[in-house]
């Protein structure tokens, strides 16, 4: 064995705390180390060339790189090794940056620790065997979970590239939150006008299959080879027969069910489509409120249905389908205001959330777009907006900025002033955040052209008395407490991940942060990939975003997904479990512990399927007879490493 050791300075990241020269000198005491060198940036082209040259010049058969975490550049250096003619699995990384140079201050101690880590890696590489990656097939079909603008855009982009897409949405129609909005910032074009064509495109696209009123129940497998179980909830309406004429919901006597789409500001019937432009334009029967399902009487909808599409006996349909990639696009919901009793949201009908205002401003909304107070239908003369309700509040709300509220509030203010120039508008804010193309100009227009009054400060209490909302407030710039009144108050409530996101993350075995947003693989360099191969992130399920940003991320996720789907074969990781069938007693405990169902029992000995195995090592550490080993992380290698550390 001829080993070469390379110590990276990483600029001053490593060199400031670790004596690289000393390490290079010390490792050469090992008889197997025939060459050692240091370099400012090993990952740069010059650094990689230096490694390649050394491999050739010294006929190296193993390489140790003392640098950053293997999560950062293990792949880079494996490729370097391959270029030099070395097996890529005969390099080892000693991470002397993240948990060493970055965290220690004492140079002598840090250098000592780095040397130990280098020696451990040398001990490991001595036992490294050449490994060869296998291949696995790719199912050329994508699963997009969530049918809001994020999911629709991702599905359209993947479909346009020629791959089949299943778009699964839990509610009866695609469209998501954007379908509820009135206008969009900063151009004030109507949300429906720009969204509905996309909804129709998605439905009409030959490569896209819509599964509305459906839920993903189970996901198995790995990149290229996922299998999902999907439940299509019983619509009680035959989608093939229904023409969407609307006779059924006209006749439905159960008319007083608060509409989810209208945020409870209007009622719907038990058989319903959530909104007029719903896609598909096929109603569902809400069985919890339908008289027929509650007590067997009624059935008026079936009587009036010309094509006889109503089917009370329909049952949920469960099917499984294979996919190459999965994209999470589960979106958000409005944060509950229960903890904010001082804003009287539950006490006064005239205190509403911004999403509710969208419905009240929307021409297709419950008031036909006329701004009316929910309590008495009167036009409000003075409207107060309160920002950051639940956002940036570490005691009762969310620590993050919900990102969209400053802009949509400016939009609301302008939209109201456009329709009702006499209306007086007051906005309480903590900071006005407008980073985006045309955003600050838009906000300035609200202030300068439309005369909207912005007050830096907060409202501490809202009390409705005789139809007027009385507020106790503070103006931080004038440093004074004051009282103000309004006819209507609009709260910019925080947004938070949809409740379905957490169970989905568990199903996909992909991490979330503590706030239940999906985690990206790298915060800067891999922002649309999850940490699990083949799972991509689209839209607000990954963090608060406005529409342009959501659409950009949706397309980026699609692009990454297409990158997988376009391949015929995926290179599999050779660091997988391997059975020594002479030692294996066939006890089968490894089968129970394997999360990927990769192990089976063949003629009394375990067998690991390298295509399914993800190399987690659970079986290797559990095996009572030491028959299971993990390529690249063999028991011998790990123990040699520990020995070197303890020496």
């Amino acid at each position: 064995m001829r080993i070469g050791v390379f110590v990276c300075h990483c600029g001053s990241n490593i060199k400031a705390t670790i004596d690289a020269e000393y390490i290079a000198a010390q490792v050469q005491q090992d008889a197997k180390v025939v060459h050692a060198a240091e370099y400012p940036y090993l990952c740069a082209e010059g650094g990689q060339q230096k490694i390649i040259n050394a491999v050739r010049e010294y006929q190296l058969t193993g390489v140790v790189i003392c640098a950053c975490s293997p999560r950062m550049h293990e792949n880079t250096f494996r490729k370097t090794a391959a270029k030099a003619g070395l097996n890529p699995y005969q390099i080892e990384i000693a991470n002397i940056r993240e948990q060493c140079s970055w965290v220690h201050k004492n140079k002598d101690a840090a250098t000592g620790k780095a040397l130990k880590l280098a020696k451990a890696a040398i001990a490991r590489v001595k036992l490294a065997l050449p490994l060869f990656a296998g291949e696995s097939a790719v199912t050329k079909r994508a699963l997009v979970i969530g049918g809001g603008i994020a999911g629709i855009q991702t599905a359209l982009d993947i479909a346009e590239a020629g791959f089949a897409v299943d778009l699964v949405e839990s509610t009866p129609s695609i469209g998501g939150k954007m379908a509820q909005l009135d206008k969009t910032f900063p151009t004030l074009d109507c949300a429906a006008c720009i969204l509905t064509p996309k909804m129709v495109d998605a439905a009409a696209h030959e490569k896209i299959t819509l599964h509305t009123y459906s839920e993903v129940e189970e996901v198995e497998g790995f990149v290229g080879n996922f299998t999902a179980t999907i439940r299509k909830k019983a619509r009680s309406v035959d989608m093939k027969k229904c023409t969407g004429c609307g006779a059924c919901w006209e006749k439905c006597p159960s008319k007083r069910i608060p509409s989810e789409f209208d945020c409870g500001l209007a009622n719907r019937t038990a058989i319903y489509t959530p909104f007029a432009q719903a896609v598909p334009n096929v109603p569902v029967i809400d069985r919890a409120t339908c008289i027929k399902f509650k007590n067997g009487r009624c059935g008026l909808c079936a009587d009036v249905c010309q094509p006889a599409a109503i089917d009370f006996t329909q049952e949920d349909a469960v099917f499984t389908q294979e996919y190459g990639v999965i994209i999470a696009a589960t979106g958000y919901q409005v944060f509950s205001l229960d903890a904010y009793g001082e804003y009287a949201y539950h006490d006064s009908k005239n205190v509403i959330t911004s999403l509710e205002l969208e419905r009240l401003m929307n021409a297709a909304g419950p008031t036909g777009g006329k701004l009316q107070r929910p309590s008495d239908g009167k036009a409000p003369k003075k409207i107060t907006f309160i920002q950051c309700v639940g956002s940036r509040d570490i005691t009762r709300g969310k620590p993050y900025c919900s990102k969209i509220c400053c802009m949509y509030t400016a939009k609301h203010a302008i939209a109201i002033k456009e329709k009702y120039p006499e209306a007086e508008i007051e906005i309480f804010y903590i900071d006005v955040r407008t980073p985006g193309k045309g955003f600050d100009e838009f906000y300035r227009r609200a202030v300068e052209v439309y005369g909207v009054r912005y007050i830096k400060g907060q409202v501490g209490k809202i009390a409705e008395m005789n139809g007027i909302l009385h507020m106790q407030a503070v103006d931080l710039l004038e440093n004074k407490r004051f009282d103000t009144t309004a006819d209507m108050v609009v709260l910019a409530a925080a947004i938070e991940p949809s409740p379905g996101a957490k169970p989905l993350a568990q199903m996909l075995a992909t991490p979330m942060d503590t706030l239940r947003f999906f985690s990206e693989a790298h915060p800067k360099l891999r922002p649309v990939e999850s940490a699990t191969a083949g799972i991509f992130l689209s839209g607000v399920c990954h963090g608060p975003k406005d529409i342009p940003e959501t659409v950009a991320q949706a397309s980026a996720a699609a692009c990454k997904a297409i990158g997988v789907l376009a391949k015929d074969k995926l290179i599999t990781n050779p660091c997988v479990a391997k059975v020594n069938d002479k030692k294996c007693t066939g006890c089968g405990r490894c089968i129970d512990v394997c999360p990927y169902k990769a192990i089976s029992l063949e003629s009394n000995a375990a067998e690991a399927n390298p295509a399914l195995c993800q190399g987690c090592g659970g079986c290797a550490s559990l095996c009572p007879s030491n028959a299971m080993d993990l390529n690249g992380f063999t028991h011998k290698q790990v123990l040699a490493e520990v020995d070197a550390l303890c020496r």
Binding site: G341, A344, A463
Partner: protein
């Protein structure tokens, strides 16, 4: 059920009905209030300065006495209750406070062990509002009564642990148990202005009038309080629009144990 009871100064003078009705009702409901021996004024205002120790010693003394008897300390006046809960909280969480208290008097080694309950909490926790409803002899039928919590019983919420500070229910539940109609109105948890009534009369007046206006706007005919200072403020500024009384007066009336004095 025997509780150590800290009545406080005001309850033997201007607010004696608050105290008398509470004692009579306790007998009717079958629990005993055993007055703390030689109690001294709680100080009425909890010093915001955590370094101040002397004004808190009276409370510590009463708390130690209850602990020695293994009892829960019950208070009635909102101001006393606030001071006791705050002192208890500091004794539990602030080592240097404990040490300083001990330096004043070695017998006062105290780390917040005594549970402190307001009389209203005793009703909720030990009697139960459903049970209270059964014990009512004269239900206060048709009377529209608003609960006035003020600030002292509710805040700071994590210390007082009395009820949801923004949307409390306990006094409404109490009023309903007595057969009356609780009126929920927005200013029921706002300050009455009592603490400013000497320095800044106009402000104190504005605050009190705001409470009354809110209650009247929601149809309240009467208001109940648990605090002598709130009681004073609301009566002073109500201009006869609503009747203001202590919650224990209502309780005694409903239980049929009214003191004829």
């Amino acid at each position: 059920m025997v509780f150590s009871y800290f009545p406080g100064c005001t309850l033997s003078t201007t607010a004696k009905y608050l105290d008398q009705c509470a004692r009579l009702s306790a007998i009717a409901l079958g629990f005993t209030l055993e007055e703390v021996e030689d109690w001294q004024c709680c100080g009425a205002v909890f010093p915001v300065d955590s370094e101040q120790v002397a004004p808190k010693l009276a409370a510590v003394r009463a708390l130690v006495q209850a602990r020695e008897k293994g009892r829960t300390l019950v208070t009635l006046c909102a101001a006393c209750h606030h001071v006791f809960k705050q002192v208890n909280h500091q004794a539990k969480n602030d080592v240097s406070f404990r040490e300083t208290v001990k330096n004043y008097d070695e017998s006062l080694e105290y780390a917040g062990e005594t549970p402190v309950l307001h009389y209203m909490e005793v009703l909720r926790q030990y009697i139960g509002f459903d049970e209270l409803k059964k014990r009512v002899i004269n239900p206060l039928k048709g009377r529209k009564i608003g609960a006035y919590y003020g600030c002292l019983l509710l805040r700071p919420a994590e210390v007082m642990d009395f009820d949801d500070a923004e949307n409390p229910r306990i006094m409404e539940d109490f009023i309903a148990a007595l057969g009356a109609l609780p009126v929920v109105y927005p200013m029921r948890n706002e300050c009455c202005g009592g603490y400013r009534s000497l320095q800044d009369k106009p402000m104190a007046q504005t605050l009190a009038e705001r409470v009354i206006a809110a209650a009247v706007s929601r149809g309240a005919q009467g208001l109940v309080t648990a605090c002598p200072l709130c009681q004073y403020q609301l009566i002073e500024h109500s201009a006869g629009e609503v009747d203001v009384c202590y919650f224990t007066e209502l309780l005694a009336e409903a239980l049929g144990v009214e003191d004829d004095d």
